[in-house]
């Protein structure tokens, strides 16, 4: 769509790579994914991408980062740095969405509902930690759909 996500995914990825093994080791549930099953993000139509990206940024800001505080200050610093990048990207994308009236097609609405259903299938802390552990899935999709 007309809106571009201005966010340094390379910087976020570097931060996530530093904590990935630790975060993913806190998620013992192999049989559930928040973002990639049953419907992978890659099936989202390009016209819907702007809307679902904004939904996902909001999802991470409102439902993930705030529930991912750990006992490890290094992890917490990395998580809050990633959260700040998401906050600013969401603000810019939100402004652009309003100006360009980004369409929210049925498919992306359905896809996002599935993500919320997956999230609500676990208790909040587990769901948030699992979502955080899937950040590379989100970044892979965002970079591919540029």
């Amino acid at each position: 769509g007309a809106c571009r996500v201005s966010m340094s995914t390379a910087e976020i990825r570097a931060g996530f790579t530093a904590i990935k093994a630790n975060i993913q080791s806190r998620d013992p549930v192999r049989s559930l994914s928040i973002l990639s099953h049953p419907h992978p993000l890659n099936r989202v139509k390009s016209s819907d991408r702007c809307c679902i990206t904004h939904h996902l940024l909001t999802f991470y800001v409102d439902k993930v980062f705030k529930h991912c505080t750990t006992e490890d200050s290094f992890l917490n610093r990395k998580i809050s740095s990633i959260a700040n990048s998401f906050l600013s990207a969401r603000r810019k994308l939100g402004q652009c969405r309003e100006q360009n009236n980004c369409e929210c097609g049925e498919e992306s609405t359905e896809k996002f509902k599935q993500i919320l259903t997956n999230y609500e299938g676990l208790n909040v802390t587990s769901a948030a930690m699992k979502s955080l552990g899937e950040l590379d899935i989100l970044l892979d999709w965002m970079e591919k759909s540029r």
Partner: protein, 213 residues
């Protein structure tokens, strides 16, 4: 078979080693066990969770198992697990960390070909292919997997030992204004910015510019 006691020490350092998305599971034998240990392997797709046995790696005595075919969809992520058996005893299943082929593979250096005139060198680079099941299968260049891929190229004047570095996006480079009749050595590296992946540098390819006419 009789009841197995899972008191055998676990396999150690169970991990994927991946080059150009040829994804091979490796591990070390359990501590204190000599020869005769056999292993079984299973894997699962993250988010699906069903463990699938790998028949070709059932009761093997080697400490690796090629799971490239099973993990070839690089839009998925995977776990694999290994169990050891010896003299009627077994270990626990030991799992890898979550494996993401897209970010966790290593990339080979590019293939380099060079040609020269009297005052310039032309360099053509080729990206390695993604692993494929058989020669007949359609080739996928890693350029398709990592569209933002770039190259770092080093050119060394063998006489003066002066070296230049270039960062380029397309796969050809012409280096002009060189000295005739001089040997130059070229080496190149692949650089993917995100996810951050760098190949090693290729071995040097040396060529001499033609002598002055």
């Amino acid at each position: 078979s009789g009841e197995l006691y899972c008191s055998l020490p676990n396999p150690r350092n169970v991990r994927f080693e991946s080059i150009n998305m040829k994804n091979v599971l490796h591990w070390s034998s359990p501590e204190g066990t000599g020869n005769g240990v056999l292993y079984r392997v299973k894997y699962s797709v993250y988010g699906v969770g069903k463990w699938i046995r790998k028949p070709e790696c059932r009761n093997i005595n080697r400490t690796w198992c090629d799971l490239s075919s099973e993990t070839s969809d690089y839009e998925e992520q995977y776990y694999a697990s290994v169990k050891a058996f010896l003299n009627g005893m077994c270990s626990e299943w030991v799992e890898t960390t979550r494996f993401n082929p897209l970010t966790d593979t290593k990339i080979d250096p590019p293939m380099v070909s060079v040609s020269s005139t009297d005052r310039s060198i032309s360099i053509i680079l080729a990206v390695p292919e993604k692993w494929k099941r058989s020669p007949e299968e359609e080739s996928i260049s890693l350029l398709q997997v990592y569209p933002g891929l770039q190259y770092n190229v080093s050119v060394l004047n063998k006489k003066t030992k002066k070296r230049w570095f270039f960062s380029i996006s397309n796969n050809t480079l012409v280096v002009p204004w060189l000295e005739p009749g001089t040997a130059y050595c070229v080496s190149a590296q692949i650089h993917v910015t995100t996810p951050l992946l760098d190949s090693g540098f290729s071995k040097e390819h040396c060529i001499a510019t033609l002598k002055d006419k």
